[in-house]
């Protein structure tokens, strides 16, 4: 039998990286992602283990921090999402299970969720068409995290930089529905897209 290598397929069947005046959209590919939740009574020990391994403080409110190439996103009380580029076959589930053994439950999310990056001066205006929270820079700034819904699709979103750049993560099977909404929102906001 011939050797075969499995190649990951994008969950977005129609969404290509798009750049328009004021907004750019890009599905993120090739990342490794794992969620982890502190064990009962293990929260402080878990925070210490992450601090020692990655030099960052796990956020206790809806924020993100970056340490050693890993983005840690607050995912609810005592829960986080860790995301990194899958370079050199990096696998966060394996890595975190070693680092926080006995302190937290670690679950791979790499194939379960997709991430879309939305950036540019019009990003807020476009996202505000479907996200029911206040995205004004005074309220939702760099490193802010929100778990909410966009066009009725559950999303975890965070702001990466002041461009502003946002990333939204959702369950993989919603990728096309979300992309459909996003492109409609862009078309009704950006004159060049219509």
């Amino acid at each position: 039998m011939a050797d075969s290598t499995l190649q990951p397929t994008s969950a977005f069947s129609h969404l290509e990286p798009t750049s328009l005046p004021g907004i750019a959209i890009e599905p993120r590919e090739n990342f490794t992602m794992a969620s982890f939740a502190a064990g009962k009574g293990r929260l402080e020990a878990l925070a210490a283990a992450i601090r020692e391994a990655y030099g960052v403080e796990l956020p206790r409110r809806p924020q993100r921090v970056v340490g050693n190439g890993i983005v840690f996103v607050w995912l609810g009380p005592d829960q986080w999402l860790a995301i990194a580029e899958r370079t050199n076959n990096r696998d966060l589930e394996v890595e975190l299970k070693q680092r926080v053994a006995g302190l937290a439950s670690v679950v791979d999310q790499s194939d379960g969720r997709v991430i879309v990056r939305v950036s540019g001066p019009l990003a807020r205006e476009v996202l505000a068409k479907g996200v029911p929270i206040d995205l004004h820079a005074d309220t939702f700034g760099v490193n802010a995290v929100a778990i909410t819904h966009a066009s009725h699709i559950g999303v975890i979103m965070w702001q990466v930089d002041a461009a502003p750049t946002f990333e939204l993560a959702m369950f993989r099977s919603y990728a096309d529905s979300f992309a459909h909404w996003l492109l409609e929102a862009v078309a009704s906001t950006v004159p060049a897209a219509a």
């Binding site: 409110r61 809806p62 995912l75 609810g76 009380p77 029911p132 929270i133 778990i147 909410t148």
Partner: protein
């Protein structure tokens, strides 16, 4: 109606699920009076006007269980606390009365 999640901030009602009275406690099924206790637990509710303590679940948000103190006549919410803190007796409303 909007509920201020202690973790996420103020969010619209559509992110939450109402999950009933936060003051009732599930009876012991092994008790000799279990049948009567469960009838009382499941069916006998006062449904009075005024302030209620209610369980709400932040389903489309951080998945936290909350105890919301709400006046069912006016919808005015006077407290939102993590249900975990209420169960452990560490909620701020409990410290006040301790």
């Amino acid at each position: 109606m909007r509920i201020a999640c202690p973790y996420c901030g103020e969010r619209s009602l559509d992110e939450y699920l109402y999950s009933g009275d936060a003051t009732v406690r599930r009876p012991d099924f092994a008790s000799p009076t279990a049948q009567a206790d469960f009838v009382k637990y499941v069916y006998e509710r006062k449904n009075s006007p005024g302030q209620h303590r209610e369980l709400w679940y932040h389903a489309a948000g951080c998945h936290a269980w909350l105890v919301v103190t709400r006046d069912v006549s006016t919808h005015i919410i006077t407290a939102v606390e993590p249900a975990k803190d209420v169960a452990l007796g560490t909620a701020s409303s409990m410290k006040d009365t301790a």
